[in-house]
Symmetry: C2
Subunit: 328 residues, 2 copies
């Protein structure tokens, strides 16, 4: 990369169900970000214009108002039509069939806009600028409200035939397991996502199975959060430990299958639940993997925690924008 | 490819636990083959020399003794050190740490020899010359004495970081399932391989659970074969149908996971058990996959049966040899 390219200024977007983050980046660093609440009722056009406004304000704030943006990278919840730059149906955000790439580019006076699914962005962000830097073959798994991920082969996202590969959260890990909100049976997400862990915790209260969690939640099942279940497990509560064991177990089975098939050098774990609870989850995941992975595949396999936390997606958006304009 | 290259003559080897097949190929066609029993006690050097002798005889037989072989392609049971061309430990064949590529090349006067694991060869053979021809992203699954396969991305075997990827038979599909001979728990191979199906059938006799199978096997559990279990299921025996259902179910779960992650356009099914029993297996596999695969991943997904049967590996050896000398 030439010196001038490396100093190009990029705009970043991370669209989520509760908040939107925009940012500016240069030289592989995120200079500054702004976040604002996702306003679902106002609709996508208003949201998109707000992103543009906040980005311009941020430029002015940093004294970079006169420096043109080289490109925009955007992390958007799927499913998306990446080829045409259309957000197909982001229920949490309230965007449906919205031609984001074209609209946002127009709003910004024709700057090129590149978008990808949020889990892909987070995976690429860690692979390019984070825990997976310098590792050609890796898998990223995010454990959060949902479970998702990205398969990275030779340093690039592997998308498959129709571009819908990498659905690691919706691999069956328990044949007679629960029905997932996605409609499939026994998905990892149906067993090990944050909301499922919280729901299982809440059920303990109804059944008087955990005095500790009951006390922590003030006796209110609705007050049981994912974090509270982990806290109780960390404090030795047997029922909550069982919930954590289960989640880790099936994440381990998921990861093991990916390792057997893809033989990656690293699995990078991200997402809100993992970032907060890796001390409990990772050792259990590793133990479970030991029962399902060949020794040769395990040898040297790195299980890593994401380093950018909730900014992995922004770094991925940066990688996307840089790649989009050939600033590799 | 130039006309002269396409008419190059290739030697092929398919080494197995019970038989060795050598062949000659030209212009994408296998001209002739010879098979002989694998003589384990005689050792690898003698076996290798026999391959060379049979290949030369075959050349003479076809009137091609004067045409030099452009290269040899060899399908060898793993694990192998492909980089150094060494057969690490083929228990069935009785070869251990045997530098096959160097020895066979020397024996043939310096002709380049290219080898790959047998499941990879079968997968490549079908991808290049068989059921998967023209499909860039596909997965090959062989159901036979073992369960194995190959992941094909952009028309090439995906091997992963250390070259040991594609172990599809040893993905956990049943968390509390049987211990596999490989040492892992709940592998597809531990539930759906030919020998497991036969063993489950034999157990029915001991428990008097299938008068039909008992009759077919003359009351002798040792006479129960995989094929007999399928025959009884095909004739409506409930206990044998249950065994077939189970095998198909877990093959379906395995395939579904691969589809969710890799989004291939096709799954090509090969191997002795599948070639003989696909009428029972494939519809059940497809039904199970419906519970674990997104509609968008299923749309247009091709479930295909291998077209070359027990010659898939030879065709893969041909692809390997052609690729090895740049005759693409």
């Amino acid at each position: 990369m030439s010196g001038s390219e490396s100093q190009a200024l990029y705009g970043l977007v991370d669209l989520g169900g509760t908040k939107v983050v925009v940012g500016l980046a240069r030289g592989g660093e995120i200079l500054a970000t702004r976040r604002f609440a996702t306003d679902v009722p106002e609709g996508p056009d208003a949201g998109m214009r707000r992103m543009a406004r906040e980005t311009r304000d941020l430029q002015a704030e940093l004294g970079l108002a006169d420096l043109p943006l080289a490109a925009i990278g955007a992390s958007i919840p799927g499913p998306n039509d990446l080829e045409r730059g259309i957000v197909l149906s982001s229920h949490n955000v309230g965007w449906f069939d919205y031609p984001f790439v074209d609209r946002y580019s127009s709003e910004l006076g024709g700057i090129p806009v590149f978008m990808d699914d949020d889990a892909n962005c987070a995976g690429v962000g860690e692979a390019r600028f984070g825990a997976g830097a310098g590792i050609p073959h890796q898998v990223y798994i995010t454990v959060s409200t949902g479970i998702g991920g990205a398969v990275i082969i030779d340093g690039r996202i592997y998308r498959g035939w129709q571009g819908v590969g990498g659905e690691v959260g919706h691999v069956c890990v328990l044949p007679d397991g629960p029905i997932c909100p996605c409609g499939n049976v026994g998905c990892a997400e149906a067993i090990a996502s944050g909301p499922v862990i919280a729901r299982r915790g809440a059920a303990l209260l109804a059944q008087h199975q955990s005095a500790m969690l009951d006390g922590m939640a003030g006796g209110d099942p609705a007050a049981v959060t994912t974090a509270l279940v982990f806290d109780a497990a960390r404090a030795g509560d047997p029922a909550c430990t069982r919930i954590v064991d289960d989640a880790a177990r099936f994440l381990g089975i998921l990861a093991a299958g990916l390792v057997q098939v893809l033989n990656p050098q690293a699995i990078v774990w991200g997402g809100g639940v993992m970032m907060a609870q890796s001390d409990l989850l990772l050792p259990r995941i590793e133990a479970e993997m030991g029962m399902h992975v060949y020794a040769v595949h395990r040898q040297g396999l790195l299980l890593k925690k994401a380093v950018h936390g909730d900014r992995s997606g922004l770094f991925g958006a940066l990688a996307l924008a840089m790649e989009g304009v050939g600033d590799a």
